[in-house]
Structure formats: structure tokens, C-alpha cells
């Protein structure tokens, strides 16, 4: 097995470990105070105008009416079309949407290459004349792949231009931000060149995926230097993304579900009392005169049940 598949394996491991680690870290943070912002779409019959169960007379006596479907109706356009950016920042949407949608298509490309590669092992002929299934995967791979590469490249270049030449954006753009966009742009350019010069129909990449997924190094076809560079860049990019603020591709789940839409009331049986009680036992070492925590004996219960004056 050559070095290229090994880099890809390692990159995937870094990706998975980073995402899982961060997911666990965020999931196991202490219960926090409620901090929702309306509209909260799962509020059944009210989410569309921003209403909540708190509009109900003696709301605690009534069963909560929530709708996962209503939530999904907001989530899907938000994830797929970046509806929030469209609504609040159209100029930016025309740059960021192609970038993100292009990446979604490239994720789809990976799935198609994997399906095609594994399918080939089981006798599927992924080719223009490979029968209905084979031809479908063959043409879909080409369409999705090129659309993804082109859209993502247009988006990354547009974002790069905006961050470079718009003074407001430039001031907020750090070296790491430029590096990120250049990394994407370079990888996409290499990938496009690689396609156009050595692997027009993604057959080489499919073979690479076949070898990768079947753990069969000999199945990996010989790669050109450009193809190797393409795969290495893409692999490193995959490993890099969750280590940066671009991990928002999955942490956005937390900002929405654990904060912005987290309106579950502390009713009997909700389990909040126990979680809060645990946190109230935590020691405090804020040192302002009205708190004077020592980080040893004084806990939150001591702090909040004192007046602060006698401290």
C-alpha cells in the first residue's frame, strides 16, 4: 500500500476522532440556564410567528405541543440552502452558498465513489454502458462531482476576494481564515486539473475508493502525481476542517438545539432539578467583594443564599 492511501486513512481517523471528541465535550458540558431566542420552530402552531407555550394561560397545566416536522421545515432550508444568510445577508449568500452547496455535492461525490467502488467489487459495471444502475452511478458521479468542484471553487474564490478587497471583511479576517480559503481553493484547483488532465470521468478516483474501502492496496490503480496531490490535499483538508471554526458544520446542531431552541421547562420529572442541584454544589472562586469565593468551601448554594452584603 502506498503512502497516499495511508494519508487518507489517517486523515479520516483524525476527522472522526476530532468530531467525536468535540461532540462528547459539548454534550457533557454542565446544564446551563435557558437562553432561547424566538422563533423556536418546534412550538406547535406558534413557531411560525415566534410564539411559545408561555403564551398559554397557566401553561404548566397543559401538555406541551411540539412538532418535529415544523422544526425540520426550518432546519432543511437552513442546512441545504443557508436560508438564514439568504434572509439576512443576501450579498454574502451569493458567495457563501455556492461554496457550501459545492461542498455538500462533494460529500455526495464521496458517497457515489464509495458506492461505485464497492459495487464494482460485487460485479457492478460502473460505466456509460454498464446497465441502468452502473450508468446511473457513472453519470451521477460526473454530474455531482463537476458541479461540486466548480461551485465550491467559485464560492471559495468569491469569499477570498471579498475578504481581501472589502475593508470591513478584511479587518475581521485572520491569517488562519486566508489559509483556510486558500487551502480549499488550491485543493479544488488541483482536483479540477486532475480531472481534466488525467481522470475525466472519475474512474481513477473510483478505483482509489475501491482499494481504500476494501482495504486492498493492490486494487488502487496507479496514480499520477497530480492525482496523488489531489487526494493528499483533500485528505488533509478533511482532517483539518473539524480542528477549526469550520467545525460549525456539526456544532451548529448545538447552537440551535441546545441554546437557541432549548426551551424545555423545568417541570416535575424533567430531570432538571437533579442536574441543577449537582451544579449548585460546585465551588466558586469569583473574587468580587459581593461574592468572595475561595474555590474550596464556598459553593453556589452558599453564594446565592447569602445577601452579598455581609461578605
Amino acid at each position: 500500500m502506498g503512502i497516499v492511501p495511508i494519508i487518507t486513512y489517517l486523515s479520516v481517523i483524525v476527522f472522526v476522532v476530532s468530531v467525536v471528541t468535540r461532540f462528547i465535550k459539548l454534550s457533557t458540558l454542565p446544564v446551563h440556564l435557558r437562553w432561547e431566542v424566538y422563533p423556536v420552530p418546534h412550538e406547535k402552531g406558534k413557531g411560525h410567528y415566534g410564539g411559545s407555550y408561555l403564551e398559554e394561560y397557566e401553561w404548566w397545566t397543559k401538555p406541551r405541543q411540539t412538532s418535529k416536522l415544523a422544526e425540520l421545515k426550518v432546519m432543511l432550508p437552513e442546512i441545504i440552502l443557508l436560508a438564514g444568510v439568504w434572509e439576512h445577508n443576501k450579498k454574502h449568500w451569493f458567495r457563501t452558498f455556492p461554496f457550501h452547496f459545492g461542498l455538500y455535492l462533494l460529500a455526495g461525490l464521496v458517497v457515489l465513489l464509495a458506492v461505485g467502488g464497492v459495487g464494482s467489487v460485487f460485479g457492478l459495471n460502473v460505466a456509460a454502458d454498464g446497465g441502468a444502475s452502473g450508468a446511473l452511478i457513472y453519470y451521477l458521479t460526473i454530474a455531482v462531482g463537476y458541479a461540486g468542484l466548480v461551485l465550491a471553487l467559485i464560492g471559495s474564490l468569491a469569499l477570498l476576494v471579498r475578504r481581501t478587497f472589502n475593508a470591513d471583511y478584511r479587518e475581521y479576517t485572520t491569517g488562519a481564515d486566508y489559509f483556510n480559503l486558500l487551502f480549499f481553493t488550491a485543493t479544488l484547483v488541483v482536483a479540477l486539473f486532475s480531472r481534466l488532465t488525467a481522470d475525466l470521468h472519475f474512474d481513477g478516483l473510483r478505483g482509489f475508493f475501491q482499494g481504500l474501502l476494501t482495504l486492498n492496496g493492490s486494487a488502487v490503480p496507479p496514480l499520477t502525481a497530480l492525482q496523488s496531490l489531489e487526494i493528499v490535499c483533500a485528505s488533509l483538508l478533511v482532517a483539518y476542517i473539524p480542528l477549526t471554526h469550520m467545525s460549525h458544520f456539526f456544532t451548529k446542531w448545538f447552537t440551535y438545539h441546545d441554546v437557541r431552541w432549548s426551551d424545555e421547562p423545568n417541570l416535575a420529572g424533567s430531570g432538571f432539578d437533579e442536574k441543577i442541584a449537582k451544579q449548585l454544589e460546585a465551588t466558586v472562586d469569583w473574587s468580587a467583594p459581593h461574592i468572595r469565593g475561595d474555590g474550596k468551601k464556598k459553593n453556589w448554594i452558599d453564594v446565592v443564599t447569602s445577601s452579598g452584603r455581609e461578605e
Binding site: R34, L54, E58, T251
Partner: protein
């Protein structure tokens, strides 16, 4: 004047002012009849004595009156204290209350500037870069990366993640800058990723208060501290409140012909009604109107004379978790002592959110007594037909201001509207409204902060967007012969509207006044004498 560009490196560089001079010519233009910039009041600059004594290097106003350190050692000690607070803010023990939302907001901003366009302060100021919601957050984020995440120092790290030097200039400016945000969280609502600049502002305030003992005097010393000591930030104790309520009862009984005797400490009542005590002092007809409505509807209710039980305010919401929890517990204990079935919060937005939503994960066990918005209680009373109303008595233009805390941050949108549609035939919405409303500009304590020229700042800048909305809501009806009513069911919002309207003579010149929802309800009650609203008082 050409807009001064402000770089992040400027933040820590000592200079007279970080911001460009605040001049009315640069602010967002107002619609007619306030469209003549020359005729508008100038933005008054700070007095030299103030500039000499206090840290004023952020912009042309000052909220905190931070004394300038006299020695380098003093500066260094304050910076060290800030650094220790910064680190504590990101620990589970000290900040379990907001750690997860804070971390999510610190780590994922994509700097897309969507938040800027949603911010009434940034827009009102004429897009002053210092007031971008993300500016404060990014300064703080860079300090967090360098001093909490430990991304190392040096040129490479600065290039990668941006750099803001930690020195006294940075600390002093950041303290002030945390008081240039209303915490209305309109920016959080529009952020595509869910980053919350309002939360970051809130957390910066907490760091200063809980570690360094630095907070606006009006919300700490004269606010939560006074409330915990005597029961109310107004300074009124229970005896004074009872006296005032007696006087108010007499007044509204005479005005309406409906006898009101506000009950105090009635054990076993269904409802504990808690007003913002500022209403009792500044807008006595408001608690009076509640009395008229509750008595007419035959409710079983009471007020409390316990510490904090007669004042619903909880300023800790804006700057300090410890003060917040202390006051919330006092409110709950007052209700528990009386054995009421629920607490109903009077017309005060931040009190609504503080006790209903934020305290929901503070009050446990038998302190977790149900809380309800008065807007919901009132809707039940009005829409059930328990009160006979004659909407013709409210035959004047009415618009509704949505308090951020009640609407965007609690989702109570429709009850107040259903009432208004029933009792105010000429009700019209502001644009935008509901959860997309704009803050009045007095949120997060600003309405009670008027030191130096801060009231000019909150009227000319943070309140500018609301003023524009009010004028547009009454477009074509600005003739002073037409009395117009801005319904603002929130004490702090009313305080801000009072000051804005007085600043621009809107009552004298255009007959625009503000008041609460209950006054409108009583004004159209068939069983009450007409003309409850006191137009000339505003």
C-alpha cells in the same frame, strides 16, 4: 465626515478615543418631522473634568465611571485581575450557567457581518465600526484564544488568529464596550451559525462584576444591592410601597368608580402580582389599572411586602449571576411564603424573562412556583368577556412596542395583540415587529443609566431606530390634534420612550405619548368612568 477605520490593534493602543467623534451628522437619518439634522440636538461631549478623572477612551460617552489608575502597578494589578476573571469564565465550576452557549459563540464565528445589519446601535450610530456586535466579541475572542485556549504567543499565533494586546487600555475599553449593547439579541437571532454576540456582551459584564467588582452603579449599587437590602431598587421599603399603593387605590377608585383595595400578604391567594416598583413611583396608574382589572375580574390576588417581593426587577440578569440568583430566590420565597398558585409578573420585560425563563434552572423544588406573564393573564380576562369593553373609547391611533425580553426572548407575541385588536380599533403594527422588533434602546439597564452624557447616547444612538419606527407607525397622522399612543408593556421601555419623547418634544409637537397595556384596557372598560388615560401627564 469620512468614517474612521478601526483596527483590532487599535483597541489596545492608548489614544484619546478609539471611536471617531460622535456627531449627529453621522448618525442614521431620522424620518420627518425630524429629518432636518441642523434642527436636532448636538451630541454633547463629555466634560473635561470627567475625561481627566475616568477612563473615557472608548468613545464620547461613559457608562461605568472607571477611575483612571494612578500608577503602573495599579494598572498591572487590574489587568491581572481581569486575566484571572477571563480564565474563571471558562470553567465549569464558576460559569456552569452559561459555559456551553459561551464556548459555542467563542469558537464558531465566521465573521460574515450578518449581525451588524441587525443591530440598531450599529445602524443608529451611522455604522460606527466600534459598535458592530462582532467587534466587541472579536476583541474578547482574541483574548480568549491567547490567554485561555493557550494557542501560544508570538508572531505566528498572532498571524493565525489575530492579536489584541492585553493591557489596561484593552481592559478599560472592553469594560465600557460591554455597556454599548442592549443585550436584545437581535444579532443572535440572525446569525446563521447561532453565535450570540449579546451573550458575549453579557459574559464580559459578568467577568467585570463577579471578579473585579466593576459594574454600572445604577444596576449594582443602586440596583440589585439596594433591592436585596430594602426590597426595591427604588429605595422604597415595604411600608412605603404599601402607603403608595393605598394612595394609588384611592386615586383609581375615584377615577374609575371601581373600588380597589390592593391586598398585601394575603395567604392562600391564587396570584402573587409583582410589579416593577418603578411603576409605583413613576407610573402609578399602571399598578392602579391592574387593581381595577383584577378586582373587576374577581381574581384572588395579592401583593407581597417581603424583601424583593414587591419589586419584580432583577438587574442581575444583565451583569451578574450571583446577584441574579439571589433576587430570583427572594421572589420565589415571597410566593412560597404566601402559598400562592402562581406568580404573575406585571408590565416589566426583563422581570418577565428573569423569573420565568432564566430562573427556570435556578429555582428548584418548592421554590419552582409557576410564573405567568400578565399579558397572558390579561388576555384570559379580556377575551373571556369577563370585562365589558367599549373599543370606541380607544378611538385613537395605537401602536405596540414589543419588549425584547417578552417577545424575542420568551415568545409571548400574540396575547397582547389579541387584546389590542379587540380594544383599540386604530391599532397598527410597527415595522418590523413581533420577534423581529427593535429594542427601545433602553435595554440591559440603559434606561436607568443617565450619568454624564449617557442618556444622550442612549437617546440619540441606541434609541434612534425605535424613534424611527414610532414616527413611521404614525406617518400621516403626526398632526398634534391627533393623540397617538405607543403601547409599551414594559417599565424599562417606558422609561426609555419617556426620555426619547421628551428629548424631541414629541408630545408637545405631535401628541405622541406612551403608556402600558392595562391603562388602555381600563380606559375602555364600560364599568369604569371614561378618560382613564392621563394624556397631559406625559
Amino acid at each position: 465626515m469620512a468614517k474612521k477605520r478601526v483596527k483590532f490593534s487599535d483597541f489596545s493602543t492608548p489614544s484619546k478615543k478609539l471611536s471617531q467623534e460622535l456627531r449627529k451628522e453621522d448618525f442614521m437619518p431620522l424620518p420627518a418631522p425630524l429629518d432636518d439634522v441642523e434642527a436636532l440636538p448636538d451630541f454633547p461631549l463629555l466634560k473635561e473634568t470627567v475625561e481627566e478623572k475616568y477612563e473615557c477612551s472608548l468613545d464620547d460617552t461613559v457608562a461605568l465611571n472607571l477611575p483612571k489608575p494612578e500608577t503602573k502597578e495599579e494598572e498591572d494589578a487590574l489587568v491581572a485581575k481581569f486575566l484571572s476573571g477571563l480564565q474563571k469564565l471558562f470553567t465549569r465550576e464558576n460559569n456552569w450557567t452559561f459555559l456551553q452557549p459561551l464556548l459555542l459563540s467563542m469558537d464558531h464565528c465566521a465573521s460574515c457581518h450578518t449581525c451588524s445589519d441587525s443591530c440598531h446601535i450599529y445602524e443608529g450610530s451611522g455604522n460606527n465600526p466600534v459598535y458592530r456586535p462582532a467587534y466587541r466579541s472579536e476583541v474578547f475572542r482574541r483574548l480568549y484564544r491567547a490567554h485561555v485556549k493557550g494557542n501560544g504567543g508570538g508572531i505566528l499565533s498572532a498571524w493565525r488568529k489575530g492579536d489584541v494586546e492585553l493591557n489596561w487600555t484593552t481592559v478599560a475599553r472592553l469594560a465600557e464596550l460591554s455597556y454599548r449593547c442592549n443585550l436584545c439579541r437581535r444579532c443572535a437571532q440572525t446569525c446563521p451559525i447561532g453565535v450570540d454576540n449579546g451573550l458575549i456582551g453579557h459574559e464580559i459584564r459578568k467577568l467585570f462584576s463577579m471578579e473585579m467588582g466593576i459594574a454600572a452603579k445604577e444596576i449594582h449599587d443602586s440596583g440589585s444591592v439596594l433591592q436585596l437590602k430594602v426590597g426595591s431598587s427604588t429605595g422604597m421599603n415595604d411600608l412605603v410601597v404599601k402607603d403608595n399603593m393605598e394612595f394609588i387605590d384611592e386615586d383609581v377608585t375615584e377615577k374609575t368608580g371601581i373600588t380597589v383595595n390592593t391586598p398585601f400578604d394575603k395567604e392562600g391567594a391564587d396570584i402573587l402580582l409583582i410589579h416593577n416598583a418603578g411603576e409605583i413611583m413613576a407610573w402609578p396608574l399602571n399598578p392602579g389599572a391592574f387593581g381595577v382589572i383584577f378586582e373587576s375580574a374577581g381574581l384572588s390576588w395579592t401583593m407581597s411586602s417581603e424583601i424583593a417581593g414587591f419589586d419584580s426587577i432583577n438587574y442581575g440578569l444583565w451583569y451578574d449571576d450571583a446577584q441574579f440568583a439571589r433576587v430570583a430566590i427572594k421572589h420565589a420565597e415571597a410566593a412560597k411564603k404566601l402559598g400562592v398558585k402562581k406568580i404573575v409578573l406585571g408590565e416589566c420585560g426583563h422581570a418577565h424573562k428573569a423569573l420565568t425563563v432564566i430562573a427556570d434552572r435556578v429555582l428548584t423544588g418548592d421554590l419552582n412556583i409557576p410564573r405567568e406573564s400578565c399579558l397572558v393573564t390579561l388576555e384570559e380576562i379580556v377575551m373571556s368577556g369577563r370585562l365589558k369593553v367599549d373599543p370606541e373609547r380607544n378611538d385613537f391611533p395605537v401602536t405596540l412596542h414589543d419588549p425584547c425580553n417578552v417577545v424575542r426572548l420568551m415568545g409571548i407575541v400574540e396575547p397582547q395583540r389579541r387584546i389590542l385588536r379587540k380594544i383599540a380599533p386604530r391599532f397598527r403594527e410597527m415595522t418590523p415587529h413581533g420577534v423581529n422588533n427593535y429594542c427601545c434602546g433602553g435595554g440591559s439597564g440603559f434606561a436607568i443609566m443617565s450619568g454624564n452624557n449617557f442618556s444622550d447616547w442612549r437617546i440619540q444612538i441606541s434609541g434612534r431606530k425605535k424613534l424611527e419606527q414610532v414616527l413611521k407607525a404614525f406617518e400621516g397622522e403626526l398632526d398634534p390634534s391627533i393623540r397617538k399612543y405607543v403601547c409599551a408593556p414594559c417599565s424599562n421601555c417606558k422609561g426609555q420612550l419617556r426620555d426619547i419623547f421628551a428629548y424631541y418634544d414629541l408630545w408637545e409637537k405631535h401628541s405622541i405619548m406612551y403608556d402600558g397595556l392595562v391603562e388602555l384596557i381600563v380606559n375602555c372598560m364600560v364599568d369604569a368612568k371614561p378618560d382613564f388615560i392621563e394624556w397631559e401627564q406625559h
